[in-house]
């Protein structure tokens, strides 16, 4: 039998085995890096873990701090992640039928996409809303629309996530009012409002008021929910939009956790008990194309948050230490060219989210670079999750990648880089002064420009777009939102304004204004105003009188 040569060290291997191979044919590229330009080494081995990786701390205990391997001891063996497709378009009635469709097809929770005017706190008849009503999401002006949106959907049996930020208090109040009408006790309600204003200034840009009064509204919501809607997730601290705006994985992680720190501090400063409100904070991350980078980012996020909550904020309740998160696959990674390839991208990204330990997941539809998704496209996206969950076997064991030399090392490196960036933000006085100085905005713009140049030069491949192009075939069928939606919604709003008790509305708006000025909790008067059918725009205008409006200094 021939003798097997076996290297006893990395050095020896490099000399005996690697050297000749490199001399023979070399490697495809001089350097390898992730989609975020994070450097990746040729090989990761035991010595990469030596000195810092503690098997006792990092390898053995899912469900125990620092939760690198997951927040639950059984993870998906106990319960699969929640499959939650974000959707909303046209009128409340249009979206209500899409919700019934999704629930019939096995979706487990609802996720509401509002149209731009609603997201910006403007009514459908506002001049700036023209052309936008019902186009990117569902148009909601008053409680009447919200009643229609959740028609025949029992709110004690679904959990609902609402992507709403500046006017979150109002849309949340409408949801509570619908629950009251359905006879569902508020303490039974489960769901999430995004309510993450800081990432609006950083990336998503749907703001109304300046940062400080916005934070006050958020702490009002946290205090109100602790008393009245205890199972509700009050903020979904979101990296998703930061990433979509062009951030790297490390920037997404660092800015998101820095936002989280700011919310926790704000809660503590107004006298709330960290162990009461922190368990209701959840997170929302992007899952982009670079498989291992995403998994490492999610694992690092859990570890970092557990450390922050225990050490910096002295939280005692383990529920405060656990970073629970929703994931959405990266919309910005999809291509308009050869759109069916997007199904494959989404599959890889969704798999990363699952291996990263997500609690819920939205998979994008293949046609989303073209328009809002059709029913068929949404079904394929949902089926992608079901195939991962029920056919692939990846949900059968906890954190299958734990202990991988590569994944553990990358988790650590991303943690270190993100921590350094967070230090920098701390040195500026925290995320609000950093935002006011344009720091995260500029960092993201720089990263996004750098990536675009890499794509334009062909240094980063996008299949079907800068490589492997074809003459494009017929466009896929897309969802059209007819302009009539806007006209109908405006008419509906006009009728409602004419039929409601205007004096009650006026009184309830005055009560909101007084609470805004006096510092009283805004939630009870907002809840009363929506019961009286005050509009989103009327309530926001009232609060703008007290809080003012945010103006961005644009940098590019």
């Amino acid at each position: 039998m021939a003798e097997v040569r076996k290297s006893r060290s990395r050095k020896e291997w490099e000399m005996n085995t690697l050297g000749p191979a490199l001399a023979g044919m070399g490697e495809r590229q001089r350097e390898f890096s992730t989609v975020s330009s994070f450097p990746i080494e040729r090989l990761y081995a035991e010595e990469d873990l030596a000195g810092w990786w503690d098997a006792g701390r990092d390898a053995d205990a899912p469900g125990e701090p620092p939760y690198t391997r997951g927040i639950h001891p059984t993870m998906y063996r106990g319960k699969l992640w929640t499959m939650r497709q974000f959707s909303g378009f046209g009128s409340a009635a249009d979206t209500n039928s899409r919700y019934h469709y999704l629930l019939e097809h096995g979706q487990m929770g609802l996720s509401v996409a509002f149209d731009l005017p609603t997201l910006m706190g403007r009514d459908s008849d506002d001049p700036l809303a023209e052309g936008e009503v019902g186009r990117e999401g569902v148009a909601i002006d008053t409680l009447a629309d919200m009643e229609c949106l959740f028609d025949r959907i029992p709110l004690d049996r679904v959990s609902t996530s609402m992507t709403i930020n500046s006017p979150a208090s109002i849309l949340f109040a409408m949801y509570l009012a619908v629950a009251e009408k359905q006879g569902v006790p508020l303490e039974k309600l489960e769901g999430t409002i995004q309510n993450d204003i800081l990432k609006e200034y950083i990336a998503q840009k749907e703001w109304i008021y300046p940062p400080r009064p916005s934070l006050r509204i958020i702490t009002d919501i946290m205090a109100f929910c602790a008393e009245t809607v205890p199972k509700w997730n009050t903020i979904s601290i979101s990296g998703y939009h930061i990433r979509e705006a062009g951030a790297t994985a490390v920037q997404e992680l660092a800015f998101t956790l820095a936002d989280g720190i700011c919310y926790v501090q704000a809660g503590i400063e107004v006298g709330l008990d960290v162990d009461v409100f922190a368990p209701r904070l959840s997170f929302f991350f992007n899952s982009h194309n670079d498989f291992f980078e995403e998994i490492a980012k999610m694992r690092a996020a859990r570890r970092m948050w557990a450390g922050l909550m225990r050490e910096r904020f002295g939280a005692k309740n383990p529920a405060s230490w656990k970073l629970r998160f929703h994931t959405q696959t990266a919309g910005c990674s999809l291509t308009a060219q050869q759109p069916y390839n997007n199904i494959v991208r989404v599959t890889v990204q969704a798999l990363a989210a699952v291996l990263g330990g997500t609690q819920s997941l939205h998979t994008n539809s293949l046609d989303e670079t073209l328009a809002l998704p059709t029913e068929e496209a949404v079904r394929i996206a949902l089926r992608t999750q079901q195939i991962l969950a029920e056919e692939s076997g990846v949900a059968n064991t906890v954190d299958p990648l734990g202990g991988s030399y590569f994944v553990e090392t990358l988790t650590r490196r991303i943690e270190e880089e993100a921590a350094a960036l967070m230090e920098k933000i701390e040195s500026m006085g925290g995320i609000i002064p950093a935002i006011e100085a344009g720091f995260p905005q500029k960092a993201i713009a720089d990263a996004s420009y750098r990536y675009q140049q890499q794509v334009d030069r062909g240094e980063k491949t996008i299949v079907g777009m800068n490589r492997y192009q074809i003459e494009e075939e017929e466009p896929v069928e897309t969802l059209r939102i007819p302009i009539e939606v806007e006209l109908t919604q405006k008419k509906r709003l006009a009728q409602l304004r004419a039929s409601r008790d205007a004096r009650r509305v006026g009184r309830s708006l005055d009560t909101i204004e007084r609470a805004a000025r006096s510092g009283g909790n805004l939630m009870p008067p907002i809840l009363q105003a929506v019961r009286d059918y005050a509009t989103v725009g009327e309530i926001c205008t009232t609060m703008k009188r007290v809080f003012g409006e945010y103006r961005e200094v644009s940098v590019f």
Partner: protein, 148 residues
């Protein structure tokens, strides 16, 4: 003479849409390619955009709309330009615009819409070929009091 021979381009976000990644990339790429770029920032109405374009005496405007409101916003901008006698400002755009909406937008006077996948060099090259200097003489007079 203080002539600035560079072509001046307004890059703008019109409507409530906050997706400014593309607009910022294009603004920066055009600037790096030697054009003079004015970026409007977010949440501009068609009226605001057109006023800025005329005040800044731009040669072209590139508008970004990713919210689906393109069929409302582009024609509005073009008709305002015509009203103010500034229809020689070349209007181009970018965003999520389905193929079937293209003919209508082109008929309304938009010169070109770039859709997802366009590279910055596509845009730069197109601007070089399609945006002529506009009223150069008047601008020189306007910017240099000695020539009045």
């Amino acid at each position: 003479m203080t002539t600035d021979s560079r072509i001046r381009i307004l890059v703008g976000k019109v409507g409530l849409d906050g997706h400014d990644r593309g607009a910022k990339i294009i603004a920066r790429a055009l600037r790096d390619a030697g054009f003079e770029v004015i970026y409007t920032g977010l949440h501009q109405t068609p009226e605001m955009i057109v006023t800025t374009a005329i005040q800044e005496d731009v040669d072209a405007m590139g508008l970004s709309v990713l919210s689906g409101a393109h069929n409302t916003l582009f024609p509005r901008v073009l008709s305002l330009l015509r009203e103010k006698g500034a229809e020689d400002i070349v209007v181009f755009g970018g965003g999520i615009v389905p193929q079937e909406d293209m003919p209508g937008l082109l008929a309304a006077g938009v010169k070109r819409i770039f859709t997802p996948g366009a590279s910055t060099s596509d845009v730069i090259e197109w601007v070089r070929e399609n945006v002529p200097h506009r009223r150069t003489e008047e601008r020189n007079h306007g910017t240099d009091p000695a020539l009045r």
